[in-house]
């Protein structure tokens, strides 16, 4: 059964709008039941861990404890890579360190045993059950569209926390995206860092990180980048025009969430999932490639 406790994270209320809409569309199609955790708070990413280890563990733990207190035995689904990472740290600490577990419970003033797992949306969509459910709902194909699947750092590293099997060349998103008929390219920057908050506080030093990711994707024949995180997505999408202008580049890479590709292949209209909300124009490319399934050319 595709049922999970759901922690959307703060970006979903603002710049993650297209991610949120496409998740809702796909969830409805495949019967993915997401139960939002009541009165969840910010997980503290990307600042709390720079201040204090226990703060960074306790802020996410309050959410995990709230989910656990509902006693539904549901694993927790998290669409943002940064939230996912912080939640995983808390879960990891509670499961492996008795002393930290006690400290965390004392700080949040709630019991928390770490009973349920923390899952990224890639974890969820790459299960056989979800893949099969998606496959059966495809009404369009994106055949011929070449995409670079960008995972970023936090979905895979550190592997002892995430449990990620391949930190250099993960394949979950590639497999999910391939369901739509789109063709994931082989490229080298899948798990390179996009700079996260350094794009705001030290932009001059951090822009080259985005430049390198865009350059490698384009050099390997990608026509678009696909992400699984509102922050990675915003960094690559919102700052691409600026990089083209100030660094004299000619990147032409719309940046989609993987759920947007799934939603389009399941028949979503552009407005329904917010394709027009992208900073870097994303509608034309999708229009060019999305064809009714079974149609040739």
């Amino acid at each position: 059964m595709l049922r999970y406790a759901y922690y959307p994270g703060c970006s979903m209320d603002s710049t993650g709008a297209t991610y949120k809409k496409s998740i809702e569309f796909v969830a409805e199609k495949i019967g993915l039941d997401l139960r939002e955790i009541k009165d969840w708070n910010c997980c503290g990413a990307t600042a709390a861990h720079t201040k204090d280890e226990m703060m960074a563990l306790a802020l996410p733990a309050r959410n995990l404890a709230l989910a656990e207190s509902e006693d539904l035995g549901l694993d927790i689904a998290i669409p943002c890579a940064a939230c996912y990472s912080r939640m995983k740290y808390s879960l990891h600490a509670v499961r492996t360190d008795e002393e930290k577990k006690e400290q965390i419970q004392e700080i949040i003033e709630m019991p928390y045993e770490g009973k349920n797992d923390v899952l990224s949306f890639l974890d969820i969509f790459s299960t056989e059950e979800a893949m099969e459910a998606c496959r059966s709902k495809m009404v369009r194909t994106l055949s011929g569209l070449k995409v670079a699947c960008y995972y970023g750092c936090l979905l895979s590293r550190p592997h002892e926390v995430t449990g990620g099997e391949d930190t250099e060349n993960p394949m979950d998103m590639d497999r999910i995206v391939a369901l739509t008929g789109a063709e994931p390219v082989d490229w080298s920057f899948k798990t390179e860092c996009c700079g996260a908050s350094h794009q705001v506080d030290v932009p001059k030093e951090a822009r080259p990180l985005l430049d390198r990711i865009l350059r490698n994707a384009q050099a390997n024949g990608a026509q678009a980048i696909v992400t699984a995180c509102p922050l990675c997505n915003m960094n690559l999408d919102m700052r691409q025009a600026e990089i083209n202008e100030k660094m004299e580049k000619k990147y032409n890479l719309p940046v989609y969430q993987f759920t947007e590709l799934l939603a389009v292949a399941m028949g979503a209209g552009a407005k329904e999932i917010g394709l027009h909300k992208h900073f870097f124009p994303a509608f034309e490319l999708m229009k060019k490639y999305a064809k009714r399934a079974g149609e040739n050319g």
Binding site: D13, A47, K51, D52, C153, V200, V202, E205
Partner: protein
């Protein structure tokens, strides 16, 4: 201030950091793989491997004064590729916290951003991207940074005027207060 700078207290601090992070400094044989793969290396004044080397030599003041500890993006590429599993991101993190306690902040913008981020969370229980960027710009004097994107955000309703808050803000404030209790500047 600067009480790390004498030899003894510097060494004590290194002992404390290695105890808390579980890092065994002499496991590092300076192969440099961490620095070759670091995405922020181009902007750093000390390479990640040099941070470890200075700590091996007991020279903690060089580390605390560096820009490197503030520029580390905590992406974990270094430790992932390290043949001896040296947890460099944790060394950077503890060093950053200790540097701040001693009033040594080599890259003020990073520190400011993190402070404002947490103030935001304390107030609302959630992070408000637009308030965060606005306050950050005003407090650092970078008034127009990223402002070219605001019209798009407003017209596509990516940001709103009304802050989104959680109900139990007290619970979040308590977490922050309890964990920051012993973090005041010396």
């Amino acid at each position: 201030m600067d009480d790390c700078l004498n030899e003894k207290s510097g060494k004590n601090l290194i002992k404390q950091i290695t105890r808390e992070t579980g890092v065994v400094l002499h496991d590092c044989y300076q192969c440099g793989k961490c620095s070759a793969g670091c995405p922020m290396a181009h902007a750093m004044d000390l390479m990640p491997r040099e941070v470890v080397h200075y700590m091996q030599l007991g020279m903690m003041d060089e580390v605390l004064k560096s820009k490197t500890i503030w520029l580390c993006a905590t992406c974990h590429t270094c430790v992932d590729r390290c043949p001896n599993d040296i947890d460099i991101p944790s060394l950077m993190e503890k060093s950053r916290q200790e540097a701040k306690r001693r009033g040594l902040v080599a890259v003020k913008e990073v520190d400011r951003f993190n402070d404002i981020f947490m103030e935001n969370v304390k107030l609302f229980g959630k992070s408000q991207e637009v308030i965060l960027e606005g306050l950050y710009n005003v407090s650092t004097g970078h008034f127009i940074q990223d402002m070219e994107n605001v019209p798009h955000m407003l017209s596509h309703k990516l940001i709103g005027i009304k802050p989104v808050m959680i109900r139990d803000r007290g619970a979040v404030q308590k977490i922050i207060r309890k964990t920051m209790k012993d973090k005041k500047k010396k």
